[in-house]
Symmetry: D2
Subunit: 128 residues, 4 copies
Amino acid sequence: MSDRDPTPAEALCFEAGIKFGTLYHQFAGTPVSPASADSLATAMEDAIENQPHCRSVTVDVRHDELEAAVADGAAEYVELTGRFLEVEIVVDENEGLEVVTRMEMDGGYPLMTVETVRETSAGDASDR
Amino acid sequence: MSDRDPTPAEALCFEAGIKFGTLYHQFAGTPVSPASADSLATAMEDAIENQPHCRSVTVDVRHDELEAAVADGAAEYVELTGRFLEVEIVVDENEGLEVVTRMEMDGGYPLMTVETVRETSAGDASDR
Amino acid sequence: MSDRDPTPAEALCFEAGIKFGTLYHQFAGTPVSPASADSLATAMEDAIENQPHCRSVTVDVRHDELEAAVADGAAEYVELTGRFLEVEIVVDENEGLEVVTRMEMDGGYPLMTVETVRETSAGDASDR
Amino acid sequence: MSDRDPTPAEALCFEAGIKFGTLYHQFAGTPVSPASADSLATAMEDAIENQPHCRSVTVDVRHDELEAAVADGAAEYVELTGRFLEVEIVVDENEGLEVVTRMEMDGGYPLMTVETVRETSAGDASDR
């Protein structure tokens, strides 16, 4: 068994995970309807982009799924949960490291994954 | 001691309270900066207006307070809490009853109060 | 149309609503399983009882419903939502006024209602 | 520039981050007092331990800090925020990989970090 410090890429993947947990659990449960979903998605993007290392957050509302849920439900709105969203979060680090992460539904569960670890050359990173 | 059912005005004040508790505790803790505060305020209004009996929600960001907190803090953003907001929520009931409620800072505590109970005549209510 | 200040009973119903909105939207979305539900229910009771005017909060977990949802789902846990709970909140005011409120499922929707407004005589209230 | 899939350790650090973001933003804003803090800490541990790959969650309440904040404040309770907690979360993967993460106050900011990446024998890990 060996114990070691995290690599820069591991530390950055940890940061990306924080953003996903924040986004999901800050906003899960919010009353949402087809008409209000887009302002909520914008606020989610803007809120999470405040966090350190967060280059971009893209929240896409799954409008078909949301409309179907409202049609099935007992009210004109539902509570926000992962099945109504697809999310991409990109985090970066100034030494030319970038991590692309995503949340998509997978077998009924909102699965969050690291899609790509991108290491740029020092030259590529220098203009950031 | 006497037990009785609530009056329509009492039931509507209960509804107004639900909206305030929802608004506050759904969004408290959200990362917020001077640049992201307005999209969050809009999303809060749109989300809570989905709830039953909710005629209007107005969320005003206290930008001076928010800018001062960010200047004092260890990061470029802070967590949303009541001191950064003033909120008015109006709920109504179809029999000509309306309740106006408000959250404002009072001695360091975000105080939520019923400001006005408004009873309209049947005629006033008929065009809604 | 007439505008007036709230009665003490209306103001107390507003307080009760705040507690319900807080309880629901603070904790909705929490990962919950049959094994972890009871500690969450206890924490919900203790947290909300901190709020002003809150005499008692009772959160009952609907274990059958929760176990069925976990059995149907893609994971060993689900996100907390109203269908897994029954809640009673009692608020009071020192002038001998008490309001009993409840959340129960009603046609697939977690309905929150004022059950009873209780006015005690001055004598009953004096020993509190 | 090179794009690659995450290593198992990177994917596990991402998982650890999700747990931290969940813990923080699910519970931030909860009304908390010295008397209610411990049941909340227990519920936080039990809730997050439901999530995949989560071996253990330890939430320690900083009681001195909490008591000082209540003494300074306008109410008998405060809203939960990072300064009242120290948290350790350990995640693991069944092929001999473990990540230890921690949240502690650092210059007024609740800093979340990966403390240790622990690999048990290379042979155990090599088949992934």
